[in-house]
């Protein structure tokens, strides 16, 4: 106990003042003790008739609650230590929340001092900066401890040690322990761990690392194609995780073709690429460029953007989705910079059947939902928390949330999007119409064009969110995991695995005129992207530092197309023309049992974490007994039937299917295996059945249903 008293004395001494300030001293006590959390009095309806703002975000409100409500019984100026707020928190009288503050502890002492001084709320100094040290610490091993230190800088220039009143919350409580009284952190597990520190309305993350091995790694000979590799190798070096080697040509060709065009490489391209005598680096660069310039790229990335934009038909109205989808395709074809696309969507008006981007305003159910969607899409931020209360882990306030909603409320809903000057949304705290606002920035004048202001602000080159939100998603599409996950939850308290890499990617994207292809190319040509998916014993557990490539299930649409391409029989999608590719469908509601079973995203909600296809008992039952594979493999017009009719031998057929499905020739032991099988087939029927079973297994095996 004496330590706390000393610390408290130190604070007052440092300030040269003895007064306890409500905003700066009392609220931290309540936050530290957990009084104002969502589970307690910080809930939107409070607890037991006593309500506080969440994590003390609104000190004026809290002051009213504590001092003015309940006829002042919560504070007792005559007998400060008999104030309800003291009696309850120390459980001197019955308290639903139990024993929160020690009777003789520093928290209770602060409360009593404050009441003794008159329970005033004096506008004093504002917290301007909150810093925690160390921000990054690499410990020598498990069991290591370190002292965390928190400093608050106030508007009067003073700096105060607020370590005692800072809440340190490890993201993973089994990895890091922070003692609530003295802020000594103890590292319990290897890895990179995040601790979030909270003081008043400021939250900052800190990063504590215990290397994953005791053996250092040497990356001096590792290739570095561009800044991507510098950042990736730096972190792996800190973590002491070795990297897998670069993948072979066939693997690279299949991987990058799938990533950029959603297709398997054709046998023609395979032959040309694999037989080219150019250097690996030149070959790969030329390949990536030709893929980025292909029509297939446009088709596949239209799907990627359509998912992100949640393009889908409205009830009894598919025309809007179609025009939206076509517009996206045209943007990609014309290489329209991404910032310009965003501006057009936000500012678009008109008949959604004619004006593709106007459908942006039909994405969500109302202005609030549209604000949430917009923040997730263009800022990679979740404003939705700030609907009912200020965001507890971010800077967003209710003013931001309802202010952004107000911008979208000035539009009509339905087929034709028009300006509706009288539209408004209610701010739940004031009960009045919310004032339009650029989130985190400024309120807008009544007569200004909110959408224009929003578009300008978002696509300003200094906007801190816009570029990061999209490059993080591009990174995920190529590498299998966002630098920040989830990709719509970028915030200081959810830091990127590689913060500097994310910043550099965003800057590079802006520098290159918001060109999606540019960033995809950067990533595709990095050494990190080229690595094989085969893990080493010392990096097999890595699922986020890119020491080896991640194995990713093919997306439902891509898998369906791949099956169609290999078997030579396309699937039927609603009343779309025969031969339509799944990746080109403009509406996820177009009938397709196959896509439903493979798990396509309905785009009603975000699709960003929809897993790939080919998992689960249901899918496997369908593979065995459904028409998805069976109907195509045995089809008399299919590839297998054609090859048999052409008189190809089983060995030739096996070779052809390996090339088409896996993008590589057979290895020796594979050839031996299949030779053995076909050797046993005595009749032509038996041979044909064996061939069908071979193709089926090829289309079901892990190597086919994943990108690796």
């Amino acid at each position: 106990m004496p330590a706390f008293v000393l610390l408290l004395t130190a604070i007052t001494a440092a300030n040269g003042e003895a007064t306890v300030n409500f905003d700066n001293h009392v609220i931290p006590v309540l936050t530290k003790a957990g009084c104002n959390t969502g589970a307690c009095h910080g809930a939107a309806v409070g607890r037991g008739g006593f309500r506080l703002s969440l994590y003390g975000g609104d000190p004026a409100f809290d002051y009213r609650s504590i001092v003015l409500e309940l006829e002042g019984r919560r504070v007792n100026l005559a007998h400060p230590d008999e104030s309800l707020i003291v009696l309850k928190s120390t459980e001197s009288i019955d308290h639903g929340g139990g024993y929160i503050l020690e009777n003789d502890g520093p928290g209770a002492a602060r409360l009593i001092d404050w009441i003794r001084q008159g329970a005033l709320r004096v506008a004093e100094k504002r917290l301007e900066q909150f810093q925690v040290t160390p921000q990054l610490h690499v410990a020598e091993g498990v069991g290591a401890t370190l002292q965390l230190k928190a400093t608050a800088r106030f508007s009067d220039g003073s700096a105060v040690d607020v370590t005692r009143w800072t809440v340190f919350k490890p993201e993973d409580a089994s990895a890091v322990e922070v003692h609530p009284d003295n802020a000594v952190a103890k590292l319990l597990r290897r890895g990179r761990h995040i601790v979030v520190a909270r003081y008043l309305d400021h939250v900052v993350p800190l990063e504590l690392v215990v290397p994953l091995s005791d053996t250092t790694v040497d990356f001096s000979k590792e290739p570095r194609a561009n800044f991507v590799d510098r950042h990736v190798l730096d972190l792996l070096s800190t973590l002491r995780v070795p990297v897998s080697p670069s993948s072979d040509e066939a693997t690279f060709l299949r991987r990058v073709t799938l990533d950029l065009t959603g297709r398997l490489p054709s046998t023609e391209i395979q032959n040309k690429y694999l037989e080219s005598s150019k250097s690996t680096a030149n070959k790969r660069r030329e390949l990536v460029d030709s893929l980025l310039n292909s029509d297939e790229f446009i088709e596949y990335w239209t799907l990627q953007l359509a998912r992100l934009l949640r393009i889908r038909s409205q009830p009894q109205d598919t025309q809007g989705a179609l025009s939206y989808h076509r517009w996206v395709t045209k943007q990609l074809t014309d290489r329209v910079p991404y910032d310009q696309m965003a501006r057009e969507m936000i500012t678009a008006l008109g008949d959604t059947h004619e004006v593709g981007p106007a459908n942006f305003h039909r994405t969500a159910a109302g202005p609030r939902e549209q604000a949430e969607f917009t923040s997730e899409l263009f800022m990679g931020n979740r404003l939705r928390c700030a609907n009912c209360h200020n965001h507890p882990l971010d800077r967003w306030t209710q003013d931001d949330y309802h202010g952004l909603s107000a911008i979208f409320s000035k539009l009509t809903s339905g087929r034709v999007i028009e300006v509706n000057a009288r539209g408004e949304v209610m701010h739940p705290r004031t009960g009045k119409a919310a004032v339009a606002r650029i989130p985190g920035e400024r309120f807008l004048d009544d007569d200004s064009d909110g959408r224009q202001a929003l578009a300008t602000w978002l696509t300003d080159r200094n906007n801190p969110y816009f570029a990061k939100a999209i490059v993080n998603r591009l990174w995920k599409a190529m590498m299998g995991r966002g630098l920040v996950e989830p990709t719509d939850d970028l915030r200081a308290t959810n830091p990127a695995t590689h913060p500097a890499l994310l910043a550099d990617l965003a800057e590079d994207f802006v520098e290159h005129r918001y060109d999606l292809r540019h960033t995809l190319r950067r990533i595709a040509l990095s050494a990190a992207y080229e690595r094989t998916a085969t893990p080493l014993p010392k990096n097999r557990g890595d699922d986020r530092y890119y020491s080896h490539a991640m194995i990713r299930p093919l997306e439902p649409e891509v898998l369906a197309d791949a099956i169609a391409d290999v078997t030579g029989i396309s699937d039927e999608y609603g009343n779309q023309p025969i031969g339509t590719r799944a990746v080109s469908l403009f509406d996820p509601q177009i009938d397709s049992e196959a896509l439903d079973i493979l798990g396509r995203c309905s785009r009603v909600d975000s699709c960003e974490m929809v897993a790939g296809a080919a998992g689960g008992l249901t899918v496997k039952l369908h593979m065995f007994n459904g028409p998805l594979l069976n109907g195509k493999i045995s089809n008399s017009k299919g590839r297998l039937a054609r090859l048999v009719a052409d008189g190809k031998t089983p060995a030739e057929i096996v070779d052809e299917f390996y090339r088409r499905a896996l993008g590589r020739p057979l290895a020796k032991r594979e050839r031996e295996f299949w030779n053995r099988q076909f050797h046993q087939a005595s009749t032509s029927t038996a041979e044909r059945e064996l061939l069908e079973d071979f193709v089926w297994s090829l289309l079901t095996c892990r190597e086919f249903v994943t990108n690796h």
Binding site: G38, E102, R190, R544, T618, F624, A667, D693, C701
Partner: protein, 455 residues
């Protein structure tokens, strides 16, 4: 100083998508020393060990959306009208205990049921509430926890080929973000039957051979896939097997006519089908009985529609406006299904070995809203247990006079989960391991078994 853990809460901004960020962040399969350390920490806990449990299997009747406690098992007939709501109460087999007028059949067998009226949770959002109720853990961004069904599937070596963890008609619960398996292997996730057993053409998809194929062919195909997965250069050489567990399970299920017949509800006498009620919940409960009879460890009956923000009366009682009495709404349908299930299991001598749990993600607001509905309310709500050795005819805990908070004996979802594990013979202290080797208890440290319920 007491633990502050129960006072720390996150904003409603996290969801299942966040939860996919499983524990790989840290250990990467190294650091065994930490593991042992944590194991030592764990042994310091003291919770009653499960002693010779009776329950072999569990049927969870999940009332998806959050059933109103004030209209089902915790009525407040003496409260003001805006709290009391539109439904009356009825006396039960237990003197002094009244439940909804829409649960008359359940009322007559209340001696077989235990009602918890003091369930309490801070989580009033569907996905969060579902995660907490079904796993015993509040959701966190670093780990998705497994449901009881998945843990059971993981621990039990189930005879037969039916999946150990089955959901009827599906496992789209509480907003649909929970996978069910948590950090456990994929194959522990609930198998969704896919169709609604109440529909006349109900069948489980893809159980019968595609034309021209037979079991011999399927077996060969499966073996080929295993061979190809072994050849795969990216195969994890350290893994014990590269065979695809879902593929093996699918094959075994297809290969067994006996197992497949479990789904054949038309084998049941018409009278039995009628008794359970012709609504989805009734036929799902009947299918659940057939499944546990055949050794399935855990069946989730997922009943939709309990998120009654408006028109409480119609939704809960009548079913549709002007429906003939006593109504075909959610509660009368639950009444038929639940009473039939308990009686049927009793008649078959299976009630003691089958635990039945009835719950949803939370309760509903004490006061009716302006749309004659009730909104989300997690601070107090009810859950019901029956069979599986649970002493029936008791009410555990109570809510205050308006059903706003627990009056006594608060029971958290963590406590309830620990209790369910105990009843099923799984020590709540049991530690399982995440894919990166981190030990995690099946029920949280702070959970306490509700002793009244474990007999």
């Amino acid at each position: 100083m007491k633990s502050l853990a129960r006072f720390t809460e996150r904003c409603d901004g996290i969801n299942r998508r966040d939860l996919l960020r499983v524990g790989g962040l840290t250990a990467l399969g190294f650091g065994m020393a930490d593991l042992f350390r944590l194991q030592r920490m764990a042994t310091a806990e003291s919770l009653p060990a499960a002693n010779s449990p009776k329950a072999k299997s569990c049927i969870l009747i999940w009332l998806d959306g959050g059933p109103s406690h004030l209209e089902t098992f915790d009525l407040k007939p003496d409260a003001p009208a805006e709290v009391r709501g539109p439904l009356g109460s009825t006396a039960t087999k237990i003197p002094g205990v009244r439940i909804s007028e829409c649960l008359p059949r359940t009322a007559t067998i209340l001696d077989k049921l235990a009602i918890i009226r003091s369930m309490t949770s801070p989580l009033g959002e569907h996905n969060f509430g579902t995660h907490y109720m079904m796993t015993g853990y509040k959701p966190t961004p670093v780990l998705e926890y497994p449901t009881v069904g998945a843990v059971l599937a993981h621990r039990r070596t189930q005879a037969g080929v039916l999946p150990p963890n089955i959901a009827v008609p599906n496992f789209s619960v509480g907003g649909g973000r929970l996978t069910g398996g948590g950090y456990l292997p994929l194959e522990t996730r609930p198998f969704s039957v896919g169709g609604d057993p109440a529909k006349p053409n109900f069948q489980v998809r893809d159980l019968d051979f595609y034309k021209g194929l037979d079991l011999k062919r399927l077996d060969r195909r499966r073996q080929f896939v295993n061979a190809l997965n072994e050849f795969d250069r990216n195969a994890d050489k350290l893994a014990k097997t590269n065979s695809d567990p879902d593929l093996q399970r699918a094959y075994r299920l297809i290969a067994s006519p006996k197992a497949k017949s479990a789904f054949n509800l038309s084998d049941e006498p018409g009278k039995t089908r009628q008794r359970y009620g012709r609504k989805s919940i009734g036929q799902c409960c009947l299918l659940a009985r057939r499944l546990v009879e055949r050794g399935v460890s855990f069946v989730t009956v997922n009943n939709k529609g309990w998120d009654t923000h408006d028109n409480l009366y119609t939704r809960l009682k009548e079913g549709y406006t002007g429906a003939p009495k006593p109504g075909v709404g959610l509660i009368p349908s639950l009444d038929l299904a639940l009473s039939a299930l308990i009686t049927d299991l009793g008649d078959r001598g299976m009630l003691d070995e089958t635990l039945i749990v009835v719950m949803g993600e939370f309760g509903r607001t004490p006061k009716l809203n302006t749309a004659a509905g009730r909104d989300h309310w997690p601070r107090v709500f009810s859950a019901v247990l029956a069979g599986g050795g649970v002493p029936g005819g008791q009410v555990v805990g109570s809510s205050d006079s308006v059903g706003e908070g627990p009056r006594d004996r608060p029971v958290t979802p963590a406590d309830l989960t620990a209790t369910i594990y105990s009843l099923l013979g799984i020590d709540p202290k049991l530690e399982l391991h995440t894919s990166d080797g981190r030990p995690v208890r099946v029920a949280p440290y702070e959970s306490e078994v509700v002793k009244e319920l474990v007999g």
